[in-house]
């Protein structure tokens, strides 16, 4: 599929945000896991013990929160476009989403054509972003408990863990599909981690309607 014409899929800004979030999120998950159960405490040894891993958790948290905020401020249009992308729901979307569980186990299942984002991507984005916001808000209260009512801080512990579980499960799916371990998605890692382009062939396979739109614009 190389050598053929490629279509721009992800902007440099989107890839930068994705890179920084990949790193901060994985480190946050790892350092958080060290406190999940006493028998996982050993994971913290990489950071010189639990004090070090807690400090690392907070430093990563600053990046995890700060970079999207800066991006929203300095790339407002990109943010608005992103919101439009994830909150549009087109006619095929429900069908696609309902058929996805079958497709996951039987990749040759015929799927309806999709726009710029597949409905499954949008669905996952809601949960990934929603749980991230939950993790951020509860995390802030947990890091500065003296500034919040005790009852609120107490509820932040289970909610932080709930956020971690939701995000963790969706990220496992995101990694499996996004890295292209799932066979029909081979090469998909390049859209975000590579140069941000997708071959015409792959674009047509994944997002048929979007691809046709892009082609239509090019030819006019």
């Amino acid at each position: 599929m190389r050598g053929k014409r490629r279509v721009i899929r992800q902007s440099a800004a989107a890839r930068f945000l994705h890179w920084t979030h990949t790193i901060s999120c994985l480190l946050l998950f790892y350092t958080g896991l060290a406190l999940y159960l006493p028998r996982l405490n050993g994971l913290a040894a990489v950071f010189g013990g639990l004090d070090g891993s807690r400090f690392a958790h907070r430093v990563c948290g600053v990046f995890f929160i700060g970079i999207p905020i800066l991006m929203i401020i300095f790339n407002w249009r990109g943010f608005v476009n992103f919101l439009k992308d994830i909150f549009t729901w087109e006619e095929n979307d429900t069908t696609w989403l309902l058929r996805f569980p079958i497709y996951l186990f039987r990749a040759k299942t015929k799927m309806p054509p999709q726009g710029r984002l597949k409905s499954g991507q949008k669905f996952a984005d809601w949960f990934i972003i929603g749980s991230s916001i939950l993790l951020i808000l509860t995390g802030i209260a947990m890091a500065f408990p003296a500034n919040f009512p005790k009852g609120l801080v107490q509820w932040c512990f289970p909610l932080h863990e709930l956020g971690m579980i939701i995000l963790g499960v969706f990220l496992l799916g995101h990694i499996y599909l996004g890295l292209g371990i799932f066979q029909p998605y081979r090469g998909a890692w390049r859209y975000m981690f590579g140069d941000g382009t997708v071959s015409e062939e792959e674009a047509k396979y994944h997002w048929t309607r979007w691809y046709e739109e892009v082609k239509g614009k090019e030819s006019t």
Partner: protein, 263 residues
């Protein structure tokens, strides 16, 4: 749990002997305090004050009752601190004492924020949490805890739990018969039975004790539901994706065409 403590609040004279004995045995420094219009001193537990007598002025029928409550860790059977501790530092000994292992404590303060009695205190300098240790070093050598040993009116007793429960019940009936209709043995069954029980002449709420202490619902959700749910859901997801991978090995684009007319 065989051993327990019974604090008969009706016998306490607020001499603070227990506070001094605790400091002396555990080699805890005195604290600089301020006069705030009460004999209560110090005004709260701290990393170096593990027991203290709380003073309560209660108005009843135009009369003031002066009540005293020796506060300290109550060594719950269902201890919230043990449940929430992410390092296993907070643990229960065979004798029933709840201890915080200083080596394992990382100062996360989960116990401070969740204890139903607000007992553990955080020391910022050491980045550790401290509280009453039930004089485990004395008890494990057959001695009585320092506060119980020193208490002049015998308000603090240490011994076999069964004996203390029946003693407490007797005291409560005696108090009820002598003008304290609300008297109560606090801690007999609360939180699975407290290691430190109170004979209270008045309602628990007057002493600032929760009427029905329990592990916070947020902690139950956190430790009993979500904690096991995480690995289950994560494991299920990994299994599903592994199966998906295995079932789709050898897939090539274009195979959908074979499906013919199916949409």
């Amino acid at each position: 749990m065989a051993k327990a403590m019974l604090i008969d609040v009706s016998k306490c004279t607020a001499c603070k002997g227990c506070q001094v004995a605790c400091k002396a045995w555990n080699e805890l420094p005195a604290e600089k305090t301020e006069f705030k219009g009460t004999y209560e001193n110090p005004l709260s537990l701290s990393p170096t004050t593990w027991t203290r007598v709380k003073f309560i002025e209660m108005a009843e029928n135009g009369e003031v009752k002066w009540l005293f409550l020796k506060t300290q860790c109550l060594h719950c059977t269902e201890a919230t601190c043990v449940k929430v501790c992410p390092t296993g530092a907070a643990h229960k000994t065979e004798e029933g004492a709840i201890l915080i292992d200083k080596e394992k404590c990382t100062g996360c303060k989960y116990c401070v924020q969740n204890c139903p009695f607000e007992i553990p205190k955080y020391d910022a300098d050491e980045n550790k949490v401290f509280k009453c240790r039930f004089c485990f070093d004395r008890v494990s050598n057959g001695l009585t805890p320092a506060c119980a040993l020193t208490c002049p009116p015998g308000a603090v007793r240490f011994g076999e739990r069964d004996e203390l429960v029946s003693l407490g019940r007797d005291r409560v009936s005696a108090l009820k018969a002598n003008g304290n209709p609300n008297a109560k043995l606090y801690g007999e069954t609360e939180l699975g039975g407290l290691g430190v029980m109170y004979v209270l002449p008045e309602k628990a709420s007057i002493y600032g004790l929760p009427k029905e202490p329990r592990v916070p619902i947020s902690v139950v959700l956190w430790e009993d539901i979500l904690k096991p749910l995480g690995p289950i859901l994560g494991g299920a997801a990994v299994a599903a994706f592994a199966l998906s991978f295995l079932l789709n090995i050898g897939y090539k684009h274009g195979e959908e065409a074979e499906e013919g007319g199916e949409k």
